[in-house]
């Protein structure tokens, strides 16, 4: 077997080239930007033509100006909301991975704990947030718990599914080579679960922000937190509608940034092998 199979080589080269194809990327970036600009222009036009007052609907330019002028207050709130979301996401990743691994190691643990994980997931966070805020001494801790509660489940359920999705032949292969439990987990089950975990991570990234904002709304009425949601409430009470929109814009940008980062992480982790990250040419 010293000669490489000739016809096989051609297949390989074309497969590699198709992975490297990066053209036709511009429409994906330009099309949404063009639509966004058109939307903002239309918004401005309607506000100006109809003479709508800023306390009902401010025009985009005014929102941008408010964003700059109130940057000092808003950036502080942005930092608080963002750090709570990210800390909750980290906790969800660590605990989600830990529990899903425990579940695959012991069927009994999974059978007895999984229903309670579902209870946590299906109970609306708005309904439990007041309780958590009463129970936890520290407001930051209570916000963190709320955000974690909603971010935890997608990672747990997706990773558990992924860890149970190993190919049967692969499992046999590992048994034949007398792999230990730990070796099978590390070399087979965890890599198999990777795409599932990353899918759950992208959902949880958005949910952790939603959890943080919802909890702030509930806690914010107490007046002791100053995240973005609290800024929105406060501006609402004071009829500072442009500032309300500015805070809202920052919440959206936060969500987009989290999603974009996690998509990038997912792409980098899967680009060499997973169907979802590969480009094919027909």
């Amino acid at each position: 077997m010293n000669k490489a199979a000739g016809d096989d080589l051609a297949v390989d080269v074309s497969a590699r080239e198709s992975n490297a194809v990066t053209a036709s990327r511009w429409p994906r970036i330009l099309a949404p930007i063009a639509l966004g600009v058109a939307f903002l222009l239309l918004w401005t036009a309607i506000v100006r033509v109809k003479g709508i007052q800023p306390y009902i609907l401010p025009e985009p330019l005014l929102i941008a100006r408010t964003l700059v002028s109130d940057w000092h207050t808003l950036s502080g709130s942005l930092w608080i909301t963002l750090s709570i979301s990210l800390a909750a996401l980290c906790a969800a990743v660590v605990l989600g991975l830990l529990f899903s691994i425990l579940f695959t190691q012991s069927k009994w643990l999974e059978l007895s704990l999984f229903p309670y994980a579902i209870v946590l997931q299906v109970t609306p966070i708005v309904a439990i947030a007041p309780l958590i805020i009463i129970w936890a001494d520290n407001v930051t801790v209570s916000l963190l718990i709320c955000a974690w509660l909603v971010a935890f489940f997608p990672i747990l359920s997706n990773t558990t599914l992924g860890l149970n999705s190993s190919d049967h032949n692969h499992v046999n292969l590992f048994r034949l080579y007398r792999a230990s439990r730990w070796q099978t987990l590390w070399n087979l089950h965890l890599p198999t679960a990777m795409p599932y975990f990353l899918g759950g991570l992208r959902i949880s990234g958005g949910l952790s922000l939603i959890g943080a904002v919802v909890a702030e709304f509930v806690a914010g009425t107490g007046g002791s937190a100053s995240g973005l949601a609290y800024r929105i409430l406060e501006s609402g009470y004071r009829l500072q509608i442009p500032r309300m929109f500015a805070a809202l814009t920052l919440v959206s940008l936060c969500g987009i940034a989290i999603f974009a980062c996690l998509t990038l992480v997912s792409h980098l982790a899967l680009r060499r092998w997973h169907e979802s990250a590969l480009r094919t040419e027909n």
């Binding site: 000669k3 199979a5 096989d8 692969h170 046999n172 080579y177 087979l188 092998w273």
Partner: protein, 272 residues
């Protein structure tokens, strides 16, 4: 006769593997194998030939230790046994699908058995490189399975099986999903590897032509319940070049095997 030669003659007399009265009944009640007796000699190339459902893959699973027989025993007279009384025959398995890890490069896939055995990274990667070289895939170490054709993936799978230098290679219809051209090239290459490294092969197939081309001995199996129906010898010398496929001797062996297979399948109809 010098002692060394005598000793080696005695050793080669001892089979590598014996199955005695091996039966397998699945939990749903199906009797997959009934009273299979089989002796496999050291360095032998043996094919298990039979229609689907005759239990040839099941027999291979039992031999590999992935499944346990319901009755009878599988003995490895020349292999070590561990403290639990389980044989440690130095075996490798090639599945019908290449069964490569999609997230690992070809070299990492081939090195996997060595990694699981605790070998250090530089050594196992160099052994994997040699194994890939021996199946004609030098230069593809860093390629991912997704980038390889079906035939190349199967070559990687064979390299992974051989990297541990097994005494016996179990192959479960490894080339069944490949096209005719790739398949006959892999057959040629497998024979070369076998002649060079002198491992034992049990090759499961449903192709008469493949079994006659490759093996020294063809065990024909019948279905319902799975059992040995005939044991044929293909006493043609090696090397067997591609031109062997067009010789009258080859045709005669194919004829003989086909007849044996028809008898085995006729048995089934007799039972139904």
């Amino acid at each position: 006769m010098p002692d060394a030669a005598l000793a080696s003659a005695l050793r080669s007399d001892k089979p590598l593997l014996t199955c005695r009265g091996v039966s397998k009944r699945f939990s749903n009640g199906t009797l997959a194998l009934k009273d299979v007796d089989l002796r496999v000699g050291q360095g032998e190339f043996l094919s298990l030939l039979g229609p689907s459902g005759c239990g040839k893959s099941t027999l291979l699973k039992l031999v590999s230790g992935l499944a346990l027989p319901s009755s009878g025993e599988i003995d490895w007279p020349t292999s070590e046994y561990d403290s639990h009384g389980n044989a440690r025959p130095h075996l490798s398995f090639v599945f019908q699908e290449p069964t490569l890890l999609p997230w690992a490069s070809a070299a990492a896939n081939v090195a996997l058995p060595l990694k699981l055995a605790g070998m250090g990274k530089p050594e196992r990667l160099s052994r994997a490189g040699e194994a890939l070289d021996s199946v004609g895939l030098a230069g593809f170490e860093s390629a991912y399975p997704r980038e390889l054709s079906g035939g190349m993936k199967m070559r990687v799978s064979i390299a992974r099986a051989l990297v541990t230098r097994p005494r016996i290679l179990l192959m479960d219809e490894p080339f069944a999903a490949l096209d005719e051209i790739t398949r006959s090239r892999l057959n040629d290459d497998l024979l070369q590897l076998w002649r060079r490294e002198r491992f034992t092969v049990i090759f499961v197939t449903h192709s008469v032509y493949e079994s006659v081309f490759l093996s020294q001995r063809i065990v024909v199996m019948a279905a319902r319940p799975g059992r040995v129906s005939a044991d044929l010898c293909v006493d043609e010398p090696y090397p067997r070049p591609s031109s062997y496929r067009t010789t009258p001797v080859y045709a005669a062996h194919c004829q003989r095997s086909s007849t044996a297979l028809e008898v085995a399948m006729g048995d089934v109809q007799g039972h139904v």
